[in-house]
Amino acid sequence: MAPADAPARLATQRLTALFDRTVAVREISLLFPANTVTAIIGPSGCGKSTFLRCLNRMHELSEGGWVTGRVLLDDVDIYGGTVDPVAVRRRIGMVFQRPTPFPTMSIHDNVAAGLRVNGRLPGSALTAAVERALRQAALWDEVHDRLNSSALALSGGQQQRLCIARALAPQPEVLLLDEPTGSLDPAGTQRIEELCHDLKRRYTIVIVTHNLQQAARVSDYTAFFYLGKLVEVGRTAELFTKPAREETEAYLTGRFG
């Protein structure tokens, strides 16, 4: 189990994710305390991304994808019978490995996209929300004078921060990051890592990463997955220096992965 020294914003209870008859992740029970960053690490194919996609009900959009178990957002099961998955995704935001700005929209419209789909906001409120999101993503200074230009004119790192701003604009409670720096250069990577430190004041963050140093730098808690199972979870500092399980130690010291 995960430590609970802060109330858990998000929690899973024996979550199992499948593709038709194949099990991808098995019986995961994890707590994500509010306003913390939890990193999920593990070798390729261990189910990290699949697990992450269960947290905002994206997994069921894949061919044959389904789950058993519960995922609790503030103690409400998001897989409950009457819950609308679309509503869930508006409260839990996600950023993917490759930046995916909408090519036909301007920077402003990209950020506003998540807001517009939720309903009409008066013009001034919309502008304010866009600015707030861009500031939170540390992108405002670079783009405030060209909000109406195409999102594709930005660099890779800027586009990824734009995607983060887009995910933040609807003010979700949880932010899921699936290898967000995977396609960025070191400078871009660093900026996003700094961002995580700032963002956790307002949001609860779960980040999947291949990069152990990044997990060590950025997260408060780390969970180690292997072959679809949760092997170990704990405070990052403790997990990295004194892992309790053999597999964890083997992975951390680079013996496989």
């Binding site: 069921e60 959009l61 058993t68 178990g69 099961d77 897989y79 679309v86």
Partner: protein, 315 residues
């Protein structure tokens, strides 16, 4: 709690999907309705003339006797002539563009070939009447008759409008279709095939002939069949140069007729019910033949070329 989840409960999603499905379903519906209507309209003629309709030659609106033999004969012969001329040219284009052409030449040549498909049929017809036929009469047929006049294929007097002219015009028109699909088929051949042959010491031509072409054979046959399908149904250019005569002749220099041309020419003149039914039967036969040829062609092409999208561009 442990229930596989539905993929949508949203009403918007349901309406959207239902609307799109309805629109898409119109296509198979159209095909079925087309076939059914043709059959229904042709029924009086089918009843009266039976299978003989397909090979008897007497087409007499006055006596109300109809036989589409010459039409079917002419359609097949003109298409065959067209294929004999078009296939080498089209394969030449496809092979040249995929294997031999220098990079700077590819786009312009490909563009020109695509343009051939954009020329309207009636424009080909105008060119056929005023340029091709006089050219044939003045420069080609005398030569042909001198060399091959003894054979039944080039006997008789050449007045211009002829099966030969029809076949040539058709050939020019179907080259781009065969070439485009063949090119996609050849592009779908994995580079490793080519490289393996070259690595074994084959010359460029040998690599093409022994490694690439055999791999794409099914697709190329499909491409040729697609061209055939086009040729069978081509109307305007053909009716403007072929002579429009209900006659079966071995000589390419004589006028002929095709099913499509007959429909174009005579449909508005059909005064009686039986005349109309006979023409509808011609339409039905044409429809069945082209659907069959196209269906077979598509199956062959889908199997070889990439992802089932080859030849889908509106050529």
């Amino acid at each position: 709690m442990s229930v596989p989840l539905p993929t949508f409960h949203n009403r918007g999603d349901r309406v959207y999907r239902a609307t799109l499905t309805g629109l898409a379903a119109l296509l198979p519906l159209l095909l079925v309705v087309v076939g059914a209507e043709l059959a229904v309209r042709a029924w009086p003629s089918i009843q009266r003339f039976g299978f003989g309709f397909l090979w008897t030659g007497r087409w007499d609106p006055v006596a109300e006797v109809y036989g589409a033999g010459p039409l079917i004969f002419g359609t097949l012969v003109s298409s065959l002539v067209a294929l004999l001329l078009a296939v080498p040219l089209a394969l030449g284009v496809a092979i040249f563009l995929t294997e031999f052409a220098p990079k700077w030449l590819r786009q312009p040549v490909a563009f020109l070939v695509e343009l051939l498909a954009a020329v309207p049929s009636v424009v080909y017809g105008v060119w056929g009447i005023f340029v091709l036929i006089p050219f044939l009469r003045g420069h080609v047929v005398p030569g042909l008759k001198a060399v091959l006049g003894w054979s039944p294929f080039f006997s008789g007097v050449f007045y211009g409008n002829s099966m030969l002219a029809g076949g040539i015009i058709l050939a020019i028109m179907i080259v781009p279709y065969i070439a485009a699909v063949s090119r996609e088929v050849l592009l779908a051949v994995p580079g490793s095939q080519r490289e393996a042959a070259l690595g074994l010491g084959a010359t460029r031509w040998e690599a093409v002939w022994s490694a690439v072409l055999p791999y794409g054979r099914a697709g190329i046959i499909g491409a040729v069949m697609l061209g055939l399908g086009r040729a069978l149904g081509e109307t305007m250019a053909v009716t403007m140069v072929i002579g429009n005569r209900h006659d079966i002749s071995a000589s390419l220099l004589q006028p002929g007729y095709t099913m499509a041309a007959a429909l174009a020419n005579e449909f508005s003149e059909a005064t009686t019910g039986m005349y109309l039914a006979a023409l509808f039967e011609v339409g039905l036969v044409l429809f069945v033949i082209t659907v069959t040829v196209n269906a077979l062609a598509r199956l062959l092409v889908w199997r070889v070329a990439r992802g089932g999208s080859a030849g889908s561009r509106a050529l």
